[in-house]
């Protein structure tokens, strides 16, 4: 009898051990954000949530670490061998998830794929002229012109397996017009720390650890992403313990979440600056044609509007302290950012009024402010504050807040005189700001310059910056452009956004200013 009892006891102990062992072995991170990746095809969508998800599975030649510094990825090292040629030495012994070797052929194939007309990254590889394979683990990339930021752009070009892509008929990204879904939309084969187990668009994506990852062991066995659109539901699921990590908590909930012992709130200034654009090139105001002229082309008016904005009030009242007032339209961490350029002109309503009077508008004027209402943090509230601040110096702005799909349509069709925009810097180099926001507008460059700012000197400087390989000279030119923009008051900077992540205290997820979590870096605390 005693024997039987101790036998049962023994069994129970073994069972308990087995169960507890099992729960130690399986580390699952369940996380959520409002939106899902749009596709798993790594070249089809240049959009942050999509890149986020793909970056766990696919990898690039050059990568960025926690502090967004460049580090070797699938290329162990790279150097410029002359003005227009770069040599990349590839990492050896790397395998794709299906077991195929990663070689120079795959690199050549992937860059070509990213340059295809249906790729959304083609502008990132537009300077590449051709690629030569030196041997299995060395390639040379020749650019059409000297390109100092090529490695930076390559942090976005994911490497795919040539054999796998050709086998599944996905040698080019899916065409917009095609009526059939391609294999790469729901299937992946990367070299990264995680591999795709299950993909249900908008519902659930399950990743599991790549046991043979070249970068060493990974703490997480599984990562489950569930997109939850409604913010209160997302937070409720986190508080009730159904989630471990929320990427985009609403800022009004943060104070309360900070008090919860089982959760940690981490913050970092984001590489994204919110600012107002004013069309200074148009002859008359579209929203007030009866005025007969365009006051925004007068620098005194722009300066008056700048000085009328109390960004500290916006920071305190609307952003709940979670923003950094900005004097330039690029954030700390971007090449070319300096503290002194980020200083704002003083908030001075009196001077603003006298500037307006000097410019011939003592009683102000009327115009429309176009604003998105679902794109940036509290975007509509910011615009409302701007409207009331401008009204105090006599400028009567009417607010036109719309969903992003309508807002961006009217801005890109040049239907707006005055608009709110945010700009992130993918390459972490000022050139990315200049190229889109400051260069005179044309078909291929200056495509987001809806301020219609045009200065031949600045255009020339931008052309030179794009080619200059001497970094000192280049830095100097970048500073020159920023000074010109500041002196001309081309845009009205408001603030740099701040990212907040809420993480269960069970995990430690290093926060990155690009708002991209890297799950291979996650540590399990308890």
């Amino acid at each position: 009898m005693i024997k039987l009892r101790s036998f049962i006891k023994g069994c129970i102990i073994i069972l308990i051990l087995a169960i507890s062992n099992y729960s130690i072995a399986e580390q699952v991170l369940r996380w959520s954000s409002a939106g899902d990746a749009l596709t798993m095809d790594p070249h089809a969508q240049n959009e942050t949530p999509t890149i986020n998800m793909n970056r766990q599975i696919y990898e690039t030649l050059v990568m960025r670490d926690v502090n967004l510094q460049m580090e070797p990825g699938l290329a162990e090292q790279w150097k410029a061998i002359n003005d227009t040629e770069w040599e990349f030495s590839l990492r050896k012994g790397v395998k794709f998830h299906d077991g195929a070797d990663f070689t120079a052929e795959d690199v050549k194939f992937s860059i070509k794929r990213a340059a295809a007309p249906s790729s959304d990254f083609k502008n990132y590889v537009a300077t590449i002229d051709n690629i030569t394979i030196v041997n299995d683990h060395t390639i040379r990339i020749k650019t059409k012109e000297p390109d100092p930021i090529l490695p930076s752009y390559l942090t976005f070009v994911f490497m795919m397996d040539k054999g796998w892509s050709e086998k599944h008929n996905v040698a080019v990204p899916q065409n917009y017009g095609s009526s059939e879904e391609t294999y790469a939309v729901r299937h992946t084969n990367g070299t990264g720390p995680f591999q795709l187990v299950e993909r249900k668009p908008d519902l659930k994506t399950i990743l599991k650890k790549n046991p043979t990852y070249w970068g060493g062991d990974i703490a997480l066995d599984k990562v489950i992403h569930t997109p939850i659109k409604s913010a209160p539901t997302r937070i409720a699921a986190l508080v009730s313990g159904e989630l471990d990590f929320v990427l985009d908590p609403p800022i009004q909930d943060l104070q309360r979440l900070k008090k919860d012992d089982s959760l940690n709130v981490v913050s970092i200034p984001q590489i994204r600056t919110i600012f107002l654009g004013m069309d200074q090139g148009s002859k008359v105001l579209r929203s007030n044609p009866s005025l007969g002229k365009n006051p925004l082309s007068d620098i005194r008016v722009r300066k008056a509007m700048y000085m009328a904005l109390d960004v500290t009030a916006i920071q305190q009242k609307i952003m709940r302290g979670l923003s950094v007032p900005a004097g330039m339209i690029t954030a700390p961490g971007v090449k070319g950012y300096t503290k002194s350029l980020d200083e704002r002109l003083p908030y001075d309503r009196k001077q603003a009024k006298s500037l307006l009077a000097e410019a011939g508008y003592p009683d102000g004027f009327t115009l429309r402010l176009d604003c998105p209402n679902n794109r940036y943090i509290n975007d509509e509230d910011i615009c409302q504050a701007v409207v009331s601040m401008l009204s105090r110096i006599g400028i009567k702005a009417t607010l036109n807040a719309q969903p992003k799909s309508i807002f961006f349509k009217s801005v890109t069709n040049s239907e707006s005189d005055f608009y709110l925009l945010g700009w992130g810097v993918a390459t972490l180099d000022s050139e990315y700001v200049f190229r889109y926001l400051l260069h005179s507008r044309s078909k291929d460059i200056g495509t987001w310059n809806h301020a219609n700012y045009s200065d031949p000197e600045v255009d020339q400087l931008i052309k030179d910056i794009q080619k200059e390989l001497d970094m000192n000279k280049r830095d100097h030119m970048i500073a020159q452009v920023w000074e010109k923009v500041r002196d001309n008051i081309t845009y009205l900077p408001l603030h740099h956004q701040v990212i907040n992540w809420v993480v269960s205290s069970k995990f430690d997820i290093p926060i990155r200013a690009s708002n991209e979590p890297l799950f291979k870096l996650v540590k399990v605390v308890r």
């Binding site: 959304d120 659109k229 409720a236 699921a237 992003k404 799909s405 987001w448």
Partner: protein, 321 residues
């Protein structure tokens, strides 16, 4: 009868074509999908190319005709947003919406009818007044708020039910069901409760009003005079006769449960068609939006047809016409 049916079916098709056309006219005002489809680095020329590929540069009437002819060939296209086949996406989400609507419909019947009977038979009792006040609140509080309150109470504070999503699934061919496991029920109960409140209120009030009316009629008095037991008078004679209009309303309301589920699905992150529709509106995902509207249109048309047929069976006077 056949003529009647054919007539109805032709009418239904016309209704759906009109629905689709109106939808296409509205899509124009939702914005430009292309800006959502490409990154910041895309040039105007590239965007124009995509517009051409998608046929967005053509006049609305032309786009509409193409859409209709594609549908006639069973071709619903691919989503602009997820690049996946629309029909696949709908197939994946249809079970979730139908199960939610079905459970919430059942709940509203199972709770609404007894509550209606009780408050009709005991109009002055304390409980009846609570039912009426409660149902008034059910109608007045917006669905999303009810949903959030339920989440807060049952998921965050009490921790009884999960706050979002759909789990405990069992696959039956292409249909996934959450009704065969306890876990599955724990996911469906809160959203179904939220969704049923409005219908339940409607049913309670209708049953109550109808039954009070019926209980005043002569044949009830006569039945009582015959000395029949209360139970038989109330249920066999009273309830039966008051249910006819209620059943019609329940049938028609089933359509609006599917439509109403948009908000409930968003609040509970319920992976149904309504949630899919909301996501596609924000992106101006025209293929998904049109497919959803066609689906809802067809659903209403079929429901109406069934109600009409049922009428014809119940009421012989309609058949004579």
């Amino acid at each position: 009868m056949l003529k009647f049916l054919l007539q109805r079916i032709v009418q239904g098709i016309v209704v759906m074509l009109v629905v689709a056309f109106v939808a296409f006219c509205i899509f124009r005002f939702l914005g430009d999908p292309v800006n959502n489809m490409v990154g910041d680095s895309a040039t105007e020329e590239e965007k124009e190319q995509i517009r051409q590929q998608l046929g967005l540069d053509e006049p609305v009437a032309m786009q509409y005709l193409k859409f209709v002819s594609n549908i006639a060939q069973g071709e619903f296209g691919t989503s602009y947003r997820t690049r996946t086949s629309v029909i696949e996406q709908m197939k994946e989400r249809l079970p979730a919406t139908l199960e939610l609507s079905f459970i919430s419909g059942m709940l509203s019947i199972l709770l609404g009818i007894p509550m209606g009977i009780y408050s009709a038979l005991h109009p002055k009792s304390w409980l009846s007044k609570q039912f009426l006040v409660g149902s008034l609140m059910g109608i007045s509080i917006p669905t999303f708020l009810t949903g959030l309150l339920l989440i807060y109470l049952f998921s965050v504070v009490l921790g009884w039910f999960p706050s979002q999503g759909r789990g405990g699934l069992v696959e039956l061919g292409w249909w996934t069901t959450s009704l065969l496991t306890v876990k599955g029920w724990s996911y469906i109960i809160l959203p179904a409760l939220t969704l049923c409140i409005y219908q339940m209120t409607l049913i309670t009030r209708m049953v109550r009003a109808e039954m009070i009316e019926v209980m005043r009629t002569d044949y009830i008095k006569f039945a009582k005079a015959r000395g029949l037991p209360d139970r038989i008078v109330q249920y066999r004679h009273g309830l039966k006769n008051s249910l006819v209009p209620v059943i019609t309303i329940i049938g028609l309301q089933l359509g609006s449960v599917v439509a109403f589920s948009i908000i409930t699905e968003t609040v509970f992150n319920w992976p149904g068609l309504g949630q899919m529709f909301i996501q596609s509106i924000e992106f101006v995902d025209i293929p998904v939006m049109s497919a959803y509207l066609i689906f809802v249109g067809a659903f209403f048309v079929i429901l109406n047809l069934l109600v009409d047929i049922a009428y014809a069976f119940i009421d012989p006077r309609l058949r004579v016409h």
